[in-house]
Subunit: 155 residues, 2 copies
DNA sequence: TCTTGACCTCAACCAAGATTGAGGTTTTAC
DNA sequence: GTAAAACCTCAATCTTGGTTGAGGTCAAGA
């Protein structure tokens, strides 16, 4: 009695798009969209329906995490393309991605922290109203002296 | 010899859209756009050209700062609408805005920091590959147990 | 005066990140 | 065996935050 092949209540290697959507918390349309953008891949069953490896759940989770960090899909795609083609990615493979994004996260945190501290100063000085307020300087009275609004958290 | 009225090299109370653009570091089209969205206001000269109070520079500076924090224009507009209508906003008026946004900034920083720390853990544990990885749990094996991807930095 | 640059309006377009709908097929469940 | 649920494709639409361009007016300086 081999039940593993078709019984949907047992572990199955492949997932339908709806299952991926349900388990990843992403809309089916978003899954299609990610696939159209090359972030994930599927094969088709005889009826032309998409089938995904379970690994796709990890990918989608990673996509969502990266998006929270503010990384655009195109960059996420780049990063995911560094994963191995033939084999299921290992812990070490995923680690590389995480490490890269951690750096970006740290950058972002640093910029926001800087911004917050400047905002604090401005609350103390009567925000944006005094000549030496760091949030105000580059754009108002002193605009002639600089190349533009580049003092704060430049991209 | 009263030169203060028309001499453009002297201090003038009102600014043209081009001056606002140059001094704020924002494109003329963006100024128009902000005005169309109700974030700033102008009056018209006899030739139908926009004229701005100098105060608009502060507004634009504030808009740009808030955007860096990640606040959408609609919310910035809401916040700016709390400023007094008739009079030029005081330091205290601006302080209130800053204080509000500082809270949002702190939230954002906290969320990103949490995310970073979880990412660090995942690097240690072989990111996203183990059952107890906080970045993986809610969306994969354990998806049946929760209401969705809400464990991490929920909005 | 007259030219040039700055300004006007309005509509179209762009990018990202999707969602929605139409029209049709496949799978699943009873 | 049949109906409902899930799936398919493709095009259109949406939101945010703008930019670009066409066609025309206004203002400042030589």
């Amino acid at each position: 009695m081999n039940m593993t092949k078709l019984d949907p209540h047992r572990f199955r290697r492949e997932l339908t798009v709806g299952e991926v959507a349900a388990r990843s918390g992403v809309a089916v349309s978003a899954i299609h969209f990610y696939e159209s953008k090359g972030l994930i891949k599927s094969w088709r069953n005889p009826g032309n329906q998409r089938r995904y490896p379970r690994e796709v759940l990890r990918r989608v989770a990673v996509i969502k995490v990266a998006q929270r960090v503010g990384i655009p899909l195109a960059s996420i795609r780049e990063a995911l393309m560094t994963l191995p083609e033939g084999r299921t990615p290992t812990a070490a493979d995923w680690s590389k991605l995480s490490a890269k994004w951690k750096v970006e996260l740290n950058d972002r945190i640093a910029k926001l922290t800087q911004l917050r501290d400047q905002l604090s100063n401005c609350i103390g000085c009567g925000c944006l109203s005094l000549r030496d307020c760091p949030l105000r300087n580059p754009w108002d009275e002193l605009s002639e002296q600089g190349p533009g609004p580049r003092l704060l958290a430049p991209d």
